[in-house]
């Protein structure tokens, strides 16, 4: 435990930043336990039904893997920081429910933070505008080699890209059912120069959009992935890219300098550099969001919960893959959820949480 304490001290800044980020979401969002802050409602409302089991599974799998695999390799398998971040969130919020001892929980959380550091090279949040995923060389290469569309010359493109981003967020949520999804990665802001003035680059990558294991029966997405690069005025404040969201006080459309987009559709690469191609992509994505969202909402409450659980388990697919295990939720868990759900009455009344209570629950350094 002593060495753990030393390590903890080293990582206090990181933990504090993690807590700060949670706090921002919780307190700026109004009520911490607001089930409507997320979509779908089931995710939060029925989470008590599967969260302890999920955390226990994640924890035992992780410990099993940890015996034979170095942290760095586990981190690299995740590929994207968001997947790791989501696991960390699960540990933070569920370690007590899963019956972990405090020391054990802290140890695992710190290892996940170490993996995040390993993957992101530096600050996990972009408050200091440091590079989190791409290094300077990569950013320079991208800036120089990309065929940018200047919004000064083609103002419609700023609006169309905003529409595309909204559509992608919705499609992503429709597939994964909650905003903590694992199919997108937003990173940056990277400091760049545009027309010799300092600007910032935000990268939005949406992958796994046609994941057959998660898409509803008979519904597929024509897109394998969609990526966009957007250069914004430096005054726009991006401060929360890890959860793929941000708060700011300036309209994005009016502060967009240049854009670039590429989609992989039926294994064919398409550049989104014409209005026609962009509009068609937006319309297709919006149509798919509607179809998949409607399918999800048409399910019975019981089946919605089961679907949500499967999507939740999908998050730890990289760990399960390394162990050669199936990623889907264990059958006994699904059965128990189906049994419990008829009698399980989620408490819809929200509780307002004080900052002290919030830290007590979510800070791994504070005991129960």
């Amino acid at each position: 435990m002593e060495s753990g304490v030393k390590f903890m001290k080293k990582n206090n800044l990181l933990i504090d930043k993690t807590m700060k980020a949670f706090e921002r979401v919780a307190f700026m969002g109004g009520d911490f336990s607001d089930p409507f802050a997320w979509w779908p409602l089931n995710f939060i409302l029925y989470m008590p039904l599967y969260m302890p089991q999920f955390t226990r599974d994640l924890c035992s799998d992780y410990r099993l893997l940890r015996k034979s695999t170095p942290i760095e390799k586990i981190a690299q398998e995740h590929q994207y920081p968001t997947a790791l971040w989501l696991d960390l969130v699960s540990f933070l919020s569920g370690s007590k429910m899963a019956g972990l001892k405090k020391e054990e929980g802290i140890k695992i959380i710190l290892e996940f933070l170490k993996m995040l550091e390993n993957l992101m090279v530096g600050n996990i949040f972009c408050e200091d505008n440091r590079n989190i995923v791409w290094d300077e060389i990569e950013v320079k290469r991208i800036i120089n080699r990309t065929s940018w569309v200047e919004t000064k010359l083609k103002p419609d493109f700023a609006k169309l890209f905003a529409r595309l981003h909204s559509g992608l967020i919705s499609l992503d949520e429709a597939i994964f059912w909650n905003t903590n999804c694992a199919t997108r990665e937003v990173h940056g802001p990277y400091k760049v120069k545009w027309e010799n003035t300092p600007c910032q680059l935000i990268v939005r990558e949406y992958y796994n959009l046609n994941e057959p294991k998660l898409l509803p029966p008979n519904l597929s997405s024509p897109f394998k992935s969609v990526s966009t690069l957007t250069i914004y005025d430096p005054r726009v404040r991006f401060d929360f890219p890890i959860l793929n969201d941000y708060t700011h006080d300036l309209p994005l459309v009016e502060n967009t300098k240049a854009v670039f987009g590429v989609a992989i559709r039926h294994n064919k690469i398409e550049l989104l550099n014409t209005k026609g191609a962009l509009k068609e992509t937006c319309e297709l994505i919006e149509k798919k969001s509607l179809e998949i969202g409607s399918w999800a909402e048409s399910l019975t409450k019981k089946e919605q919960v089961v679907e949500t659980v499967n999507r939740y388990y999908y998050r730890v697919k990289p760990i399960r893959d390394l162990l050669g295990k199936d990623w889907q939720a264990p059958k006994p868990l699904v059965q128990s959820i189906r049994k419990k759900i008829s009698s399980f009455k989620p408490v819809q009344e929200k509780k307002r949480m004080t900052k002290k209570q919030f830290y007590q629950i979510y800070d791994p350094r504070i005991g129960p």
Binding site: D31, W38, W39, A174
Partner: protein, 121 residues
């Protein structure tokens, strides 16, 4: 869709109808349309203020038509908040009772930064 100029000072003259969490900055005015489920999507006309319990990906097409969005529930990471910030549409979420207090056809001014909805006379 009528977007208000920045210097428009309505605080002194307008009656506050409801407040919530400002989720997407900007000001807009228009006529209220209350939509509680996808079955009512056809009620929505371009430039109206969409008032809903909450939105989901299914609502994307009607959200695009709105001048502003007001919801009963949701936080800053909720679907209406994220989508409105991308679109640049003012949004007020987490009002708790917008669908009850506001009425169809009412003319209002939405301040997405302050999280307030005012009556427009």
């Amino acid at each position: 869709m009528e977007r208000l100029p920045c210097r428009f000072n309505y605080n002194m003259r307008k009656k506050l109808l409801i407040k919530g969490t400002g989720a997407s900055p900007g000001k807009a005015e228009g006529q209220i349309v209350i939509i509680k489920s996808p079955a009512e999507f056809s009620k929505m006309k371009a430039g109206q203020i969409l008032v809903a319990p909450i939105t989901s990906p299914t609502w994307l097409l009607v959200m695009q038509k709105a001048a502003a969005i007001v919801t009963d529930y949701g936080g800053i990471l909720s679907h209406p908040a994220i989508v409105c910030r991308e679109f640049g549409i003012p949004a007020v979420v987490n009002t708790r009772k917008a669908t009850k207090v506001l009425k169809n056809g009412m003319k209002v001014v939405v301040d997405g930064k302050r999280g307030k909805v005012y009556e427009k006379k």
